[in-house]
C-alpha cells in the first residue's frame, strides 16, 4: 500500500517552506490553525501570521487588504466556514477585483467524519466554482498539494484550494509540478472514463482496477484543477471512451459532476453517471463508514461505470 498523507498536513509543511523562501507570504487563520496546519507558519513567522479569532468574514477582508498592500496572503479555516460564512466577502472583497488572496480551506467533504454535517463542506466547490476570477483546486495527494501551493504563490489572483482531513494514499512523485488548467491521465483505458477530485481520484484508480478484472478498461483522470477545467481532456476522453463517470466528495450538483456535464452537453454528449451526495447533507460517523454510506467507494464508482457502459451500448 502506498504511503498515506493528508493534504492539510502537506499544506502546512508547504506553507512553512514557502514562507522561508518568500518574505511577502503572510498567513491568516480564524482560530483553527491547528486543524488547518497554519500553526507551523505561525510559529516560525509570528510577525507574518494573523489570527483573526472566530471571525471568518473579517479574516477574508483582512486578507484582501494585505493583498492590496503587496503581500501574498494565505487564509485558512474549515472549507465550510471559508466558503459559506464568508462567501460574499470572497465575492466582493476578493474575486470582484481579482485580488491576490489564496484561500486554503481544510475539512472538505464527508471524510471529515465525526464532527458531522455542520462541519462537512459538501457545497464549497460549487460556491467557489461559480465565482468569476476564482481558480478552484482540489489536490489528490501530498505531492500535488505541495505543487499547487507553490504554484499559487507565483500566480497573481485568487485561488481556492480544498484540503482534506483524512490521510490519502500518495499518487504522484515527489517532483510533481502543477499546471493551471491541466487535467492528468493517470491510467489509460478505452471503455469508460473515470474522473475524480481529491480522495476520489484514488477511489477511481481502485475502481479501474476492479473493472479491469471484469475485462473493462477504464481511463482515469485527475481533474484537480476544477476551474479552469481542462475541457479538451474531458472532450477527448469522452470521444475515446464514449462513457463517463465523475466522482467527488461533494454534492453531485455544482461541483465536478456539473462542470463535466456542462462540457459534455455542449461538446460531446455521452452517457455520464455522477458519484456524489444526492441532495443531502453529511452526518456524524467514521470517515470510512460515511464514504460507504454516501456511495463514494471504489465499488460504487465501478457500479456507475457499468451503468454508463450499458447506456453507451444502448442497454
Amino acid at each position: 500500500m502506498a504511503a498515506q498523507e493528508s493534504t492539510r498536513v502537506e499544506y502546512g509543511k508547504a506553507l512553512l517552506q514557502l514562507g522561508k523562501e518568500n518574505p511577502d507570504i503572510v498567513a491568516l487563520d480564524a482560530d483553527l490553525s491547528g486543524s488547518t496546519q497554519t500553526k507551523h507558519f505561525a510559529k516560525a513567522f509570528p510577525q507574518r501570521f494573523f489570527n483573526l479569532g472566530v471571525a471568518e468574514q473579517d479574516m477574508l477582508g483582512t486578507a484582501a487588504g494585505l493583498a492590496l498592500g503587496g503581500k501574498i496572503p494565505f487564509a485558512s479555516t474549515f472549507a465550510m466556514f471559508a466558503t459559506g460564512r464568508a462567501w460574499e466577502q470572497i465575492r466582493q472583497s476578493i474575486a470582484y477585483t481579482k485580488l491576490n488572496v489564496k484561500i486554503v480551506a481544510s475539512h472538505g467533504g464527508v471524510s471529515v467524519g465525526e464532527d458531522g454535517g455542520s462541519h462537512q463542506a459538501v457545497e464549497d466547490l460549487a460556491l467557489m466554482r461559480i465565482l468569476p476570477n476564482m481558480v478552484v483546486l482540489v489536490p489528490a495527494d501530498g505531492p500535488e498539494t505541495r505543487a499547487m501551493v507553490r504554484w499559487a504563490v507565483e500566480y497573481q489572483g485568487p485561488v481556492y484550494i480544498r484540503t482534506g482531513r483524512m490521510p490519502f494514499p500518495v499518487i504522484y512523485d515527489e517532483d510533481h509540478r502543477f499546471e493551471l488548467g491541466r487535467g492528468y491521465i493517470l491510467r489509460e483505458g478505452e471503455d469508460v472514463t473515470l474522473a475524480g477530485v481529491g480522495l476520489m481520484v484514488h477511489h477511481c484508480l481502485e475502481a479501474a482496477h476492479l473493472l479491469a478484472q471484469e475485462g473493462v478498461s477504464a481511463r482515469v483522470l485527475n481533474l484537480s484543477c476544477l476551474k479552469p477545467l481542462d475541457w479538451q481532456l474531458v472532450v477527448d476522453s469522452a470521444r475515446l471512451t464514449g462513457a463517463f463517470v465523475t466522482a467527488e466528495e461533494h454534492l453531485a450538483t455544482g461541483g465536478l459532476g456539473s462542470a463535466v456535464s456542462e462540457v459534455l452537453a455542449e461538446h460531446c454528449p455521452v452517457p455520464l453517471q455522477r458519484i456524489g451526495l444526492r441532495d443531502i447533507f453529511g452526518t456524524s460517523g467514521k470517515a470510512e463508514i460515511l464514504l460507504k454510506h454516501y456511495g463514494l467507494m471504489p465499488d460504487d464508482i465501478k457500479g456507475a461505470a457499468i451503468k454508463a457502459l450499458a447506456r453507451k451500448n444502448g442497454r
Binding site: V26, A55, D58, G61, G65, G70, Q89, Q92
Partner: protein, 298 residues
C-alpha cells in the same frame, strides 16, 4: 493636466493642499476648503441628475469629510496614483461614490468630463467604487460592512512594509449595523493599528428611516471606546473641527482612531437635508435647478 485645472492651481498657490508633503503642517485655508466642498457638491448634483440614479443624501453628508481628507490630510500624488508611499483610502460606504469621484477628478486623477458618464455602460465610473476601472479608487466596495476589514489588512501590510503609510476608511452609521464591522473593530484594536483612522458619517439616517428607529446604535462612541479605539466626535461639516480631529489621530499610539463625524444627510441643499427619501433618489428637474441655485448662492 493639473496646470489646466484651475482648482488645483488655486489650491497650490494658497498652500491648502498637501500633496506629497508630510502631514499637513500648515494651517489650511478653511475658506478654500469650503469653496472646494461647494464645487464638489455642485458636481455631485450634476452627476446624479445626469445619471438619473444614485445616492444623493449620503454623498452630500460625506462631502466635507472627503474634502478634508483628500485636500488637507492625506499624502497623495494624483500624477502617480500608485505612488507607493501614498496614504490609502477605503470608501466603505461605497454608495457615496459620486462624492469620491468628484473629489478625485478635482485632484486630477481623471478629467472632469468623465464625471458625467457616471453609471453608464462602459463608463470608468461604476455605480459603486471599482478599483479596477477608476484611478485613485483603492478598493472596490458597495457591499456594506466589508471596508474596515480591508483597511485593517492594508494597515497591517503598511506596517510589514516598514510603515509610513496611513489608512483612512469612511463608514456609514447604518453600515456599522453589520457584524463584520465589529469583528474588524476588534482586529484593529488587537493589532494596535495606530496607522488606521476610521471616520463615521453619523447622519442618523439609513434607507428605511432613522437609525434610532431601524436599529439603535447608541451609545455609539462608548461602543468604539470599549472596543479599544481612540474615539472622538466632531462636527462633520466644520473644517476646523474635522482637521483638528484628523490631526489629533497622528499623536495616538498603539490603537486605532475613530472619528464620529456628526453630519446632516443631504447637507448643502435644503430640500434634501435630513430627508430619508433622498437616500437613493436623484434630483428631479425642478429639484436639480433649485439645488444648483442654492449651491451657486452659497
Amino acid at each position: 493636466m493639473v496646470a489646466n485645472n484651475p482648482i488645483i492651481y488655486y489650491i497650490n498657490k494658497t498652500g491648502v493642499h498637501t500633496i506629497v508633503t508630510k502631514n499637513c503642517q500648515e494651517i489650511p485655508d478653511i475658506s478654500h476648503l469650503r469653496e472646494i466642498a461647494r464645487q464638489v457638491r455642485l458636481d455631485i448634483i450634476e452627476m446624479l441628475f445626469k445619471a438619473g440614479s444614485g445616492h444623493t443624501g449620503g454623498s452630500l453628508s460625506a462631502t466635507d469629510i472627503l474634502v478634508a481628507l483628500f485636500f488637507a490630510q492625506m499624502r497623495l500624488n494624483p500624477q502617480d496614483p500608485c505612488w507607493p508611499q501614498r496614504d490609502r483610502f477605503v470608501l466603505s460606504k461605497g454608495h457615496a461614490a459620486p462624492a469620491l469621484y468628484a473629489v478625485l477628478s478635482r485632484l486630477g486623477y481623471f478629467p472632469r468630463e468623465e464625471l458625467f458618464t457616471l453609471r453608464q455602460f462602459g463608463s470608468s465610473l461604476q455605480g459603486h467604487p471599482d478599483s479596477s476601472c477608476t484611478p485613485g479608487v483603492e478598493v472596490s466596495t458597495g457591499s456594506l460592512g466589508q471596508g474596515l476589514s480591508i483597511a485593517n489588512g492594508m494597515a497591517l501590510a503598511s506596517r510589514l512594509n516598514g510603515g509610513g503609510t496611513r489608512v483612512y476608511a469612511l463608514l456609514g452609521d447604518g453600515e456599522v449595523q453589520e457584524g463584520q464591522i465589529w469583528e474588524a473593530a476588534m482586529t484593529a484594536a488587537h493589532y494596535r493599528l495606530d496607522n488606521l483612522v476610521a471616520v463615521l458619517d453619523r447622519n442618523r439616517l439609513q434607507i428605511d428611516g432613522r437609525t434610532a428607529e431601524v436599529m439603535s446604535l447608541e451609545p455609539l462612541a462608548q461602543k468604539w471606546e470599549a472596543f479599544g479605539w481612540h474615539t472622538l466626535e466632531v462636527d462633520g461639516h466644520a473644517f476646523p473641527e474635522l482637521l483638528a480631529g484628523l490631526q489629533e489621530t497622528h499623536g495616538v499610539k498603539g490603537r486605532p482612531s475613530m472619528i464620529i463625524a456628526h453630519t446632516v444627510k443631504g447637507k448643502g441643499v435644503s430640500i434634501f437635508e435630513n430627508q430619508v427619501k433622498y437616500h437613493g433618489v436623484t434630483p428631479s428637474k425642478e429639484e436639480y435647478e433649485q439645488a444648483l441655485k442654492e449651491l451657486h448662492a452659497a
